[in-house]
Amino acid sequence: MDLLRFSTAGSVDDGKSTLIGRLLYDTKTVFQDQLDDIERTSAARGDDYLDLALLTDGLKAEREQGITIDVAYRYFATPRRKFILADTPGHIQYTRNMVTGASTVNLAIILIDARHGVVEQTRRHSFIASLLGIKHLAVCVNKMDLVDYSEAQFRKVVEEYEKFASKLQIPDIRYIPISALRGDNVVDKSDSMPWYEGSALLYTLETVHVGNDLNHVDSRFPVQYVIRPQSDEYPDYRGYAGRVSGGVFKPGDEVVVLPSGFTSKIKSIDTPEGPLTEAYAPMSVTMTLEDNIDISRGDMIAKPDNQPRMTQDIDLMLCWMNDKPLQPNGKYRIKHTSRDARCVVKEVKYKVDINSLHRVEGDASMGLNDIGRVHIRTTVPLFNDPYTRNRGTGSVILIDEFTNETVAAGMIL
């Protein structure tokens, strides 16, 4: 069976919780005791309907305030696929949560209220999806029941969205008219919209092709851990453990080790069940080399004819995630693949107004939820690729050296 990771974002009251509740409910992921729970809570609050939205609200504080503030993960499966859903809040003050949720997904659902069309939040969510390199969008035009299931209204919203989306870098966008409340086109195709020829949302999620989303071209293997049993059975074994972050590695392949630049050949790719004939992303494997080279965590194994950039001066799109703003010329820890280093933020080139997508120049401050282009210098070279080419070797996080908090996420340009 296959796996799809997807996220949802929508502004308050667009029906996000109802939609997720419906997906869980209709795929029979809601168990009797959970149902009893929400029935109890719904009744205690005096709701006159069973609030499916309650299924998705996790923490106590949020239950009390009735809003989602963090990223919550949901799981469900159909016979075709398993799904991991990152449920993120839509308000502007939770941009960082949306960025977090979007960082690992294949597809994002963008919810639009059919009555209101494209609004500020729609643009923001779509921009974040594009920035985070999501290749598939399902734009769900919700509450179709409130516009008499009108094709004209749906078309109008789609046109509006297409005009704006031409500025984004998302190759695959699908539009689906739905009613989350009534279940139209969510799990089953709706009889109320015979004019809609596409498939229901769930079928789209089940069949969208994500096989090519990972990079299987540029071979990259960040060394995560060195395995040395030093046992009687394996006295001289030296294995390099890690997760393939791009391309394909096979025994016999010639490889180069960075930063040393030494070359060798792959001797074996080992697992307890026996050797493998190839390894590709996102496999976690252990490889051995023909030659005895000094390799440690943070090094990178690549191919001599296709190497990552090895740079200390790096331009990135940065999303600031901490209450404490970016310090001008501030020093931070930086994490990139299995490498730890320090860096100084040299310059904020511009910020992006994430509602209008306009560049804001001449403002070097970056506070919570700001997104902008910055230039950093690192203490050691990072073996990197552009984020658009490889999420794994193109992403970094910055960490405050005093509080140890993760303060920013960066996508290398």
Partner: protein
């Protein structure tokens, strides 16, 4: 060429990555081994992560003393077969040392006391990362848990102030006295765990498979006969065909009536069942936020 991994292989690769990251980023990690299927899966993955070397950290069992005999026998054999080192942190010791106090009543649960013993065990052994088998699908408060979950120097979880976790970049930096809980199985569901155990042919305690046993029905929870609970007025044990969906403190882990005596039958049963796994645990019924409250206090 089509380079694809099945979803179980993807989950396996992710978990192994997280386990290795823990070994690399921390000085003294430990794996919390309860003898249940999730920690069995976790230990199995840890063995794979470092093979052919041994697992570079010990296992710790927080022992309530209220075990089914089978659990301890299984634990000892399973761990010694894989060459893992075991540390036992005992709730009884915490009680004897006056650090914890036994609940009163007909089936005193030691679940709450486990947190005390666990934190004590972490502190005494100076562990700085504790790997656990918790999954996000288990309970709604867990749905927001991180892979690398930061705990302050009181061992507490602050759900509203969690570090953002992006891509597979895990931030394990911490101050002295603080530690991390790490959950490599975050993205697994109960079904995934079963399918994986089946696919990998992992040995399991026979408590998980249907067998005849004496049980008493208390408030809708079937409790197995054991020396740590006493019958209340009007109660009697009766023999039923049952199995356990989770294995915890014998005083509050409920059994379910079942005929499922193989993993495929268990998988069928789960696929059609209408009660979540924790539904059989008397301790979660206490209040809607029971789990969240316990987690804040340092529970697994």
């Amino acid at each position: 060429m089509d380079y694809r991994l099945s979803q179980l292989k993807q989950l396996e690769a992710e978990a192994i990555y997280v386990i290795r990251e823990t070994a690399a980023q921390f000085e003294r990690p430990v794996l919390l081994f309860s003898g249940g299927k999730d920690s069995i899966t976790l230990a199995w993955l840890a063995r794979k992560a470092f093979w052919p070397a041994k697992i570079p950290f010990p296992m710790m069992h927080v022992d309530t003393g209220h075990n089914f005999e089978e659990t301890i026998a299984f634990r000892d054999k399973f761990l010694s077969d894989m060459g893992a080192r075991l540390i036992v942190a005992s709730v009884q010791d915490s009680i004897d040392q006056g650090k914890a106090q036994e609940e009163k009543g007909p089936n005193p649960s030691r679940n709450a006391l486990q947190s005390i013993t666990l934190l004590d065990g972490i502190e005494q052994n100076k562990f700085d990362a504790a790997l656990g088998g918790a999954r996000r699908d288990e309970e709604k408060a867990r749905a927001k848990e991180r892979f690398f979950s930061h705990r302050d120097d009181f061992g507490q979880w602050e759900p509203k102030n969690q570090r953002p976790e992006l891509w597979d970049l895990f931030n394990g930096y911490k101050h002295k006295g603080e530690h991390f809980r790490v959950f490599p199985l975050s993205n697994w569901t109960e079904l995934d765990v079963w399918m994986y155990l089946h696919e990998e042919n992992v040995p399991l305690p026979n408590l998980y498979f249907a067998h005849k046993r004496n049980v008493v029905n208390r408030d809708g929870v079937l409790l197995a006969e054991n020396p740590f609970i006493s019958l209340m007025k009007g109660e009697a044990y009766e023999e039923r065909m049952i199995r356990f969906r989770t294995i915890g403190d014998a005083t509050c882990t409920g059994a379910v009536e079942s005929e499922a005596d193989t993993i495929p039958l268990i998988i069928d049963e789960i696929a059609t069942t209408r009660t979540t796994e924790r539904g059989g645990r008397a301790d979660d019924k206490r209040s809607d936020s029971a789990m969240e409250d316990r987690k804040k206090a340092g529970y697994f």
